[in-house]
């Protein structure tokens, strides 16, 4: 796993004309244009033509070379005074995983680019590379057959027959399978000067370990818990924000930005709504809650996520259910011991439900998350916040009790 500093996302101001990075530079940083103007200049591979491209506000740049770990392919220059946000790949990962649509959009753009390049490569290669997969597949079978790896040989021959039953080697493939199955392979069929398979060293470029995602051990590590601070939610309406870093508010400002046109190249973090048809929110919620009651939290979480990603609620009842779904999702993750996910669910609630009772409840629950994560100081910050949020109601008292309890520990 590559070592990356975990300093978080840093805002930086550039004077007009400055270069953020040059083509050929090696750097892992990823940028977001916050305000001002950034021009990317690159050279077209096939024509040598210089291409200039404007980064739109809220858009990422420097992503591919950072993630792919190769030198910058373009020069990024600032026009007019400009502010950007700078992050390392782990910050970037954390940030965009909060919004699936952005990841999917990027993935779509990247795969289109890749497809386009492959197409050019094929057209340049033209007839020179007249490799017939059909012939080659048979050859692979022959290789394994002669090497005495009969199961592998059998697999290749069988596939050959499946895909190319009418082609030239079909008969030969059938014969081979027969002789393998009968266990009677004549010695002359086998290659006497066969060389045993050798292993070459594995290429370093495939080191993807930094992005393995099945590492449950990570979840409860203290380091990870510290990262929660970066994700700390911020209340939009009131000015009472002590204990929350200015940086998180920076991010929130950014996240609330609606971005621009929904062009494929637009990587801005636009809103979460994704109109899709489904049954009514309230019905789905009832089902999810039944799952929760029977202790099937993982299933319930799946159902709730479906609701949240589903169409925006219509009508008062569905709107309420939609709010509840967010809070319930957090509760499910709490039950499953997935604190980080719980925190994310509550953070999303606060973002989307500013000024509603759900917002207050979410703050309360974040306090509970930190409490279970054994971070009493953080927990107190959030409970105190709830305590002081208008209107005074039952939840404010419960928050006050929590604060006292934690302070006396």
């Amino acid at each position: 796993m590559r070592q990356t500093s975990t300093t978080g996302i840093i805002p930086r101001k550039y004077k007009s004309g400055s270069i953020i990075y040059f083509e050929g530079d090696k750097s892992e940083y990823i940028y977001i244009l916050k305000n001002g103007r950034v021009i990317l200049t690159s050279v077209k591979l096939d024509s040598g033509e210089e291409v200039k491209e404007d980064v739109r506000q809220g858009e990422f740049f420097g992503v591919k070379s950072s993630l792919g770990r190769y030198p910058r392919e373009e020069t990024a220059q600032v026009i007019g005074d400009t502010e950007v946000l700078i992050m390392n790949p782990s910050d970037f990962e954390r940030l965009i995983l909060r919004n699936v649509t952005v990841v999917l959009k990027m993935l779509r753009v990247f795969s289109n680019q890749l497809r386009r390049i492959h197409k050019i490569v094929r057209s340049v290669l033209g007839d020179e590379s007249e490799i017939k997969p059909e012939v080659e597949l048979f050859k692979i079978g022959e290789y394994y057959f002669k090497a005495g790896f009969f199961p592998h040989a059998r697999y290749a021959f069988k596939r050959y027959l499946e895909y190319y039953p009418d082609q030239n080697y079909a008969k030969a493939a059938m014969e081979r399978i027969k002789s393998i199955d009968s266990g009677q392979v004549s010695p002359e069929d086998m290659d006497s000067d066969f060389t045993a398979p050798v292993s070459s060293s594995k290429p370093a470029i495939d080191d993807d370990d930094g992005f393995s995602f099945d590492e449950p051990g990570d979840r409860s590590e203290p380091d990870d818990m510290v990262d929660f601070d970066d994700d700390a939610p911020r209340r939009r309406s009131s000015g009472d924000d002590e204990g929350l870093t200015p940086l998180s508010s920076e991010m929130d400002d950014f996240l609330s930005d609606d971005g621009t046109a929904s062009d494929l190249d637009d990587f801005s973090l636009d809103d979460f709504a994704d109109p899709k048809s489904s049954s009514s929110v309230t019905q789905s919620l009832t089902k999810a809650q039944a799952l929760m009651k029977s202790g099937k939290y993982s299933d319930a979480a799946g159902a709730l996520e479906g609701i949240i990603k589903g169409p925006a609620p219509r009508g008062e009842e569905d709107r309420k259910s939609y709010e509840t779904a967010h809070l319930d999702l957090g509760a499910c993750y709490m039950k499953l011991g997935k604190l980080k996910e719980a925190l994310e669910a509550y953070t999303a609630t606060i973002k989307k439900m500013a000024g509603t009772p759900a917002e207050k409840a979410a703050y309360f629950q974040i306090g509970t998350v930190f409490e279970s994560a054994n971070k009493p100081d953080k927990a107190i910050t959030y409970f105190s916040k709830v305590m002081n949020m208008a209107p005074k109601e039952e939840i404010n008292n419960r928050a006050m009790k929590k604060v006292r309890e934690l302070q006396n520990r």
């Binding site: 792919g68 993935l107 340049v124 590379s129 060389t195 398979p197 050798v198 099945d214 299933d299």
Partner: protein
């Protein structure tokens, strides 16, 4: 995480030790995610099976199938009892929607692939066969961060492999290699090439590339 039991029920496949998952040159429509076990990626080159990579839990392979149906570029073999999730190109979108982590992983892989493909295109666009051969060596040298490009380097590659990268015929590549060896720039062995000054190759190719468009 979404990769729970339920998920495995739907997309899970299991392979025994030494079983082939897919074979080089067979059409590919699915990509795989390793739940447990180990997978070896191999390729038959010059009548030898070469290991290109070994993958573990959490790794993804066969991802090029997401883009379009193309023959597999290598063979995948289970090295031990291995559990995989197998996804068809057609349910790709639905799958990723619920799995931002997986989508992110693919984003990283594609970033690399785009660069590699562009880099190869740069080789193909050179018009001189000798430069193409040199540029393949440069590319391979750049891809290995362990190599010290200031010094003599050894690249584990055959003329056949160079030919496939450069879109050339093996015989022409051999001719160019022999020429370079005669000039004392490289030493050729059966399955490796020693380059004395890769920096010199880089300068030659870069200056040629610059002049191509002027």
């Amino acid at each position: 995480m979404m990769l729970d039991e339920r998920f495995f029920e739907k997309f899970g496949v299991e392979y025994k030790t030494n079983e082939i998952i897919f074979c080089e040159f067979e059409p590919g429509n699915e990509f795989y995610f390793i739940v447990s076990g180990r997978v070896q990626i191999v390729k038959v080159i010059s009548n030898r099976e070469k290991t290109l990579d070994e993958l573990n839990k959490g790794d993804v392979f066969g991802e090029m199938a997401i883009l379009e149906e193309q023959p597999r570029s290598a063979t995948a073999i289970a090295m031990e009892h291995t559990k995989l999730l197998k996804f068809h190109r057609n349910n790709f979108d639905a799958l990723l929607e619920g799995n931002p982590q997986l989508a992110y992983k693919l984003l990283v892989i594609f970033s690399k692939r785009i660069y590699d493909a562009k880099r190869r295109l740069m080789i193909l666009l050179l018009d001189d066969p000798q430069l193409k051969v040199m540029d393949v060596m440069i590319m391979l040298a750049e891809q290995d961060p362990k190599l010290d490009l200031q010094n003599q380097i050894t690249l584990p590659i055959t003329s056949q492999q160079i030919a496939s990268w450069a879109g050339m015929v093996d015989m022409d590549v051999q001719k160019e290699l022999t020429h370079l060896a005669r000039l004392g720039k490289i030493d050729i062995y059966g399955d490796k090439v020693v380059v004395h000054k890769i920096g010199e190759f880089q300068r030659v190719v870069a200056s040629k590339r610059k002049s191509m468009y002027s």
